[in-house]
């Protein structure tokens, strides 16, 4: 193709005929071959299941058969199900507990560890190391911490003759227990994102501030924080989308209990579709989660677009 173009372009002046130069941006059907593998998997693993899920959500279906069309019955049942409504609230509560904490602790750690010392490098590695663990290992570690009578927390409280809070079984503490384990697990990514943002702030601004006798607080408030605003929003949005999909920690630490107080939407979907075989209603719940995450993603789009305009 490139050879043909070259010959045509070089040959044209020789015969004195004006040939319009080829538009290299013109659509070429053969380019489709390059994206075909991606499109194949995108269609079969994402687009098809997306529409199949919608189709299932309006049918009475179980794991082994797809039954009759029931219209919006599954959605009506869903919104009459106290456990589903509880799981929606649980998911929002969990996002509320984890996302701001992750952003603030991540920022704090990044500010503390943004220096070129050996200790800072070691600590950065240490704080990030929990992120590489699988959810099973993380929950195992935290179960050992929380378990009554013999757990780490119980042992420490025992030294002072006190009873450790029951983070796995107390209705008011169970979700907080899961949130603590999640924050410990996920803190690495926000910290790294903030670190990379901090390192992009030009040093001369700080030098100018130093010449103006600005103190540490003024430097942080007027230079550092405004410079990393967009990273802050990015961290918040990434974490909202991630934490909305809570499943493993809740399943492995509390099984959604006590009294469904730690059951997130994904666990509700799993329970309904795969343990009760009510695939139609499970699909309807999945569609609701899809809508919620879509709203979060749209918010991300709107917020970042507006910020872009201002910049």
């Amino acid at each position: 193709m490139a050879d043909q173009l070259t010959i045509r372009e070089t040959a044209a002046p020789a015969v004195g005929v004006r040939v319009p130069s080829a538009n290299i941006y013109a659509p070429q059907w053969r380019n489709f071959v390059f994206v075909a593998p991606f499109l194949f998997f995108f269609t079969t693993l994402l687009i098809f299941p997306l529409f199949w899920g919608m189709w299932l959500s309006v049918h009475k279906a179980d794991t082994f058969s797809t039954g009759r069309f029931v219209g919006l019955d599954n959605y009506v049942r869903l919104f009459h199900d106290k456990v589903f409504l509880q799981s929606v609230w649980n998911t929002f509560y969990f996002v509320l507990l984890t996302v701001p904490t992750l952003a603030l602790i991540g920022l704090f750690l990044a500010l503390c560890l943004n220096r070129r010392t050996r200790t800072a490098a070691v600590l950065r590695t240490l704080f990030f190391s929990s992120s590489v663990l699988s959810v099973t290992i993380v929950t195992l570690i935290w179960r050992i911490v929380y378990i009554p009578n013999v757990g780490l927390l119980s042992t420490i409280y025992g030294w002072f003759g006190a009873t450790a809070p029951a983070f796995i079984s107390d209705p008011s503490l169970a979700m907080i227990g899961i949130a603590i384990a999640t924050i410990w697990w996920c803190i690495g990514l926000p910290m790294m994102l903030f670190l990379s943002a901090l390192q992009q702030i030009p040093q001369d601004i700080y030098e100018a501030a130093a010449l103006d006798n600005a103190n540490r607080w003024q430097t942080l408030r007027s230079i550092t924080l405004p410079s990393i605003k967009r990273t802050f929003i990015l961290v918040i949005i990434i974490q909202i989308v991630l934490q909305f999909q809570l499943f493993g920690q809740a399943w492995l630490m509390t099984r959604g209990g006590p009294n469904n107080l730690t059951k997130p939407i994904v666990l509700y979907i799993y329970d309904t579709a795969f343990r009760r075989w009510d695939l139609g209603m499970g699909a309807a719940a999945s569609e609701m989660l899809f809508v919620l995450i879509l709203i979060a993603a749209m918010a991300q789009y709107l917020v970042t677009r507006n910020k872009g305009d201002q910049a």
Binding site: R77, D81, N149, V150, A166, F274
Partner: protein, 440 residues
């Protein structure tokens, strides 16, 4: 050329030698729960040396493989109860040949045509349905056919730390524990126990637990003659009988007559460490606990270990909830005659060796074993054999019994701990179960 021929011949001969055992052995895939213990029993074929569910099951399968060189059983161990994986395997057409299924769950898979009726396979190896106890045979029979080889009947029991019972003056002159005969007696004895030992009467795994609550409720509803599943598609739980049971457990919780916040493993450790008088756990720990009681220095060795069926606390007929484990066989169209014959051998092996399995504490499913002197000579069988008569299960037509168990467990846990009003919890449990059963 000659060299090449010799080489080729040598290679062919070695390939044949390597491959020949593979050609002979029929492969069977077996999937089971009961835990993994390969470090202790991975190569053990002497079943008499094994203890506990996991040890005995692992050793039995090892022995089957050793005794039957023409069959090779490969085992996948799943976390109890493993039905999520099994359902997914059935849905994707990749189910194991043989799998452990509770009698209470058989109808879920049988009603979808996913299990093979075993009558013909069992007949071909000389095992007839009358070989099994009534409870085991009835539990494994659906629509007049046997859909699982019953290997046991199990139930929940009162596992008792006799040292603490002695401290609490709850021992008869003949050395047997004093057990309550009514709800009032239970609460009075629990109070006495707490006063004299400073420890809770019950060791229960209440942390995010559902099965225990449900089994307790079923048992005490049976004891009041409540026919809560008269219609297998419709449960009646918002009843005075159910309320009595919940109120009893609520008092036990509120007055600290039970451990709190322990999960299953935690409760076992607490009982073995002497943290309470009675552990509510199943038949499957009798073997392990008895072994502990024979080990010097343990809490159970101090004053002894006793185990009894649940006491009769209400006015109805003495009964308690029971279930059983079975080996079920997946229905596969492409199974060869050799594979079906190998499955028959496997099932026959487990019928013949049911005594070894009953050493776990489960009651044997085979009639000749439950009446044998060998079984009766096992420790504590004089007290727990009564369960064979007392055991009752839900009507076999009730589907999704594990999902129902989850719902009852969640609601009762909330009611017992005071998070939810008793009436509201029972009403919600009833509504949720009926909604589930109405949408099968």
């Amino acid at each position: 050329m000659r060299m090449k021929t010799i080489l080729l011949a040598a290679v062919s001969a070695s390939v044949m030698m390597l491959a020949s055992p593979g050609f002979a052995a029929t492969e069977l895939t077996v999937q089971r729960f009961f835990g993994a213990c390969d470090a202790d029993f991975g190569t053990n074929t002497d079943v008499s040396k094994a203890v506990g569910e996991c040890g005995i099951m692992t050793s039995l399968i090892n022995k089957f493989n050793a005794d039957n060189p023409d069959v090779h059983v490969s085992v996948t161990t799943v976390e109890w109860p493993g039905y999520d994986q099994l359902t997914a395997q059935f849905a994707s057409g990749d189910a194991p040949d043989i799998v452990t299924i509770h009698e209470s769950v058989l109808s879920d898979y049988q009603s979808k045509g996913l299990l093979l009726p075993l009558d013909d396979v069992l007949k071909s190896v000389g095992v007839t349905p009358d070989a099994f106890t009534d409870a085991a045979r009835n539990g494994a029979t659906k629509d007049g056919k046997i859909y699982g080889l019953p290997i046991d009947s199990w139930t929940m029991l009162y596992h008792i730390n006799m040292d603490l019972f002695k401290q609490a003056d709850l021992v008869n002159a003949d050395g047997t524990p004093i057990l309550p005969k009514s709800v009032d007696e239970l609460l009075a004895q629990a109070e006495q126990f707490k006063q004299k030992t400073g420890k809770p009467y019950f060791v229960q795994n209440l942390a995010n637990e559902t099965a225990l609550f449900t089994r307790n409720l079923y048992t005490y509803l049976f004891q009041q003659g409540s026919d809560f599943f008269a219609d297998p598609k419709h449960v009646k739980l918002n009843t005075p009988e159910a309320k009595k049971v919940v109120e009893m457990y609520k008092t036990i919780f509120a007055k600290d007559y039970t451990t709190k916040g322990l999960d299953y493993g935690g409760a076992i450790n607490a009982f073995l460490a002497g943290e309470g008088g009675v552990q509510l756990n199943g038949t499957w720990v009798v073997g392990d606990y008895n072994a502990q009681s024979e080990t010097n220095g343990t809490a159970l060795n101090k004053g002894g270990y006793a185990v009894y069926p649940y006491p009769q606390l209400f006015d109805g007929a003495h009964a308690q909830y029971a279930d059983g484990h079975t080996w079920a066989v997946s229905a596969k169209e492409d199974r060869t005659a050799e594979q079906t014959a190998a499955i028959g051998k496997f099932l026959k092996f487990f019928t013949d060796n049911d005594f070894d399995w009953s050493r776990t504490g489960h009651l044997p499913a085979v009639k000749s074993i439950i009446t044998s002197d060998q079984f009766k000579a096992l420790p504590h069988r004089d007290t727990i054999s009564a369960v064979a008569e007392l055991g009752r299960s839900l009507p076999p037509e009730v589907e999704r019994q594990f999902a129902i168990q989850e719902i009852i467990g969640e609601e009762l846990a909330a009611a017992t701990s005071g998070q939810k009003d008793t009436d509201a919890a029972l009403a919600d449990a009833e509504t949720r179960i009926n909604e589930l059963l109405a949408n099968l």
